[in-house]
């Protein structure tokens, strides 16, 4: 009985913490972007402008929840929820600290990949149901991008699986006791990071959105809290990918013992979130064909070579 209670507590805790982080990320991103552009960003509402998020929330809740009359109504309403639900489900396998994990599945890694690709449906359905040419273009791009980057996102993680002999995220973290996987799997890390940026369709891979060409792409027609769901989903996605990078390549909760494991985990996660924002602050968006050729011609072969070499070395040494 107390076991059930414990898991319920963890589930609620993870949910609350993740949603809070996602909301605060909006503030964090605006402040960091401002910092790198020599501005201040929101600093008026509350201490350091932290309450800006609350103000934005209140605003977005009171906005008109408009449904385009030409849209496919039910799909249109349903689409934004998919990304939030899928990403939140993805957090189920994230090992925050020893014992603090919602579900330590033996296929946790595959489950994470599945959940992160489900987010593509949100873009696809949202764009198509909007019945708008820009949205359609955005969702086409989004679907193609997520599908093609999904391929080597998985393959780049196989090196980690080979090294740790497990698909379970807890086992993967424990296998990094002696050495973080970023050292033997550096190429895998770089590929996973690029694929992660593309997966969350963040700048510079924000082609489905592409404000400057597609006027917000797949969510052109969305307003109010439905737009907010896409937004929260995007920030949750950043958090999930950052958490996964920390778990797979940077030893998750492992760290010197003067800080509790969960703190180490969040420090690592936040470092990668900051890197995501830095990426957005400095890089321009590639053309669509450049994105595709980078994916299929460079990153996919590279990840395959990485997998082969890792496997060969493992066979040669471990037998």
């Amino acid at each position: 009985m107390s076991d059930t209670l414990y898991y319920l507590l963890i589930i609620v805790g993870v949910l609350v913490v993740m949603l809070t982080i996602a909301a605060l990320l909006i503030w964090y991103e605006r402040r960091m972007l401002a910092l790198w552009q020599d501005r201040y960003g929101p600093n008026r509402v509350g201490p350091f402008g932290l309450m800006q998020v609350m103000a934005d929330m209140v605003k977005i809740f009171f906005k008109e929840d408009w449904i385009a009359p030409f849209a496919d109504k039910w799909v249109f309403i349903f689409a934004p929820t998919i990304i939030v639900v899928a990403v939140l489900l993805g957090f189920a396998v994230v090992p925050f600290a020893p014992g603090i994990v919602v579900a330590d599945m033996n296929i946790g890694l595959l489950y994470f990949l599945a959940m992160s690709s489900l987010g593509a449906y949100s873009i696809l359905l949202g764009g198509i149901s909007s019945n708008n040419k820009y949205s359609l273009l955005g969702s086409l791009r989004g679907a193609a991008q997520v599908i093609s980057y999904e391929v080597f996102m998985g393959i780049s993680l196989m090196g980690v699986v080979i090294l740790s002999d497990s698909f379970s995220l807890v086992k993967i973290v424990e296998a990094q006791k002696n050495m973080w996987f970023v050292i033997p799997q550096f190429i895998g890390f770089v590929i996973f990071f690029i694929a992660g940026v593309a997966e969350t369709h963040r700048a510079p891979f924000d082609l489905p959105e592409a404000e400057s060409e597609l006027v917000a792409g797949f969510h052109s027609e969305y307003s109010g809290m439905k737009f907010g769901m896409f937004f929260v989903g995007e920030y949750l996605g950043i958090t999930l990918i950052s958490a996964m990078i920390a778990t797979f390549f940077f030893g998750g909760w492992l760290g010197p013992s003067f800080l509790p494991p969960v703190v180490w985990f969040f420090i690592k996660t936040f470092a990668f979130i900051t890197l995501f924002i830095l990426l957005r602050a400095s890089l321009p968006r590639p053309r669509y064909d450049q994105l595709m050729s980078l994916g299929w011609k460079i990153l996919l072969p590279l990840s395959l070579v990485n997998l082969l070499v890792t496997a060969a070395i493992k066979l040669a040494i471990g037998g």
């Binding site: 910092l35 790198w36 552009q37 020599d38 501005r39 201040y40 830095l278 990426l279 400095s282 890089l283």
Partner: protein, 171 residues
């Protein structure tokens, strides 16, 4: 690849740069002396109104935000009976200042014109008139103009010779 890393690094270096933002209500921007802000009507060094109600400012105004009515006092001095500037229309172009022959109308470095009620942006003469001479401290139109006005006859202005009796010039 290298250029991507380089631009990431250069952006990161901006963490340590000074921020350009001026935190406005606490910290004010330094305005140049010729800033074109709120319009005032000035007085001459004697403390009388400079404006002679010639309508040149109203004619020059591209948005027609100035309106006034000329009047004349018992000494023959012209003055505006009312003088009204609608600051909700004013574009602060400074044409009125250029057009003014007596330096009466001047623009000041004050841009904080905010009201809750739009009607409050219509400034009447008592709101516009200041007690000093503004940018031109010594200029007094009636003291240099060859125009007879109460207290000053013909030829009594500065750098002006007394009028010549034209009948003396007969050969």
């Amino acid at each position: 690849m290298f250029s991507i890393l380089r631009s990431l690094w250069l952006t990161f270096l901006h963490t340590f740069h000074k921020r350009f933002t001026i935190q406005y209500p606490e910290e004010k921007a330094k305005l140049p002396a010729r800033w074109r802000g709120r319009i005032v009507l000035t007085r001459d060094p004697d403390g009388a109104e400079r404006c002679v109600a010639c309508y040149l400012c109203a004619a020059a105004c591209p948005v027609d935000c100035i309106s006034l009515q000329a009047a004349e006092d018992e000494t023959g001095r012209r003055y505006p009976e009312f003088f009204r500037i609608n600051f909700s229309r004013c574009i602060f172009c400074g044409f009125c200042e250029d057009a003014c022959p007596t330096y009466a109308i001047q623009l000041t470095p004050d841009f904080e014109l905010v009201e809750y009620d739009r009607q409050n942006l219509v400034y009447e003469k008592e709101n516009l008139l200041i007690s000093g001479p503004g940018k031109y401290h010594d200029y007094n139109f009636y003291r240099v103009a060859g125009y007879a006005v109460g207290g000053k006859g013909k030829g009594e202005a500065e750098r002006e010779d007394p009028p010549i009796d034209i009948h003396d010039l007969k050969p």
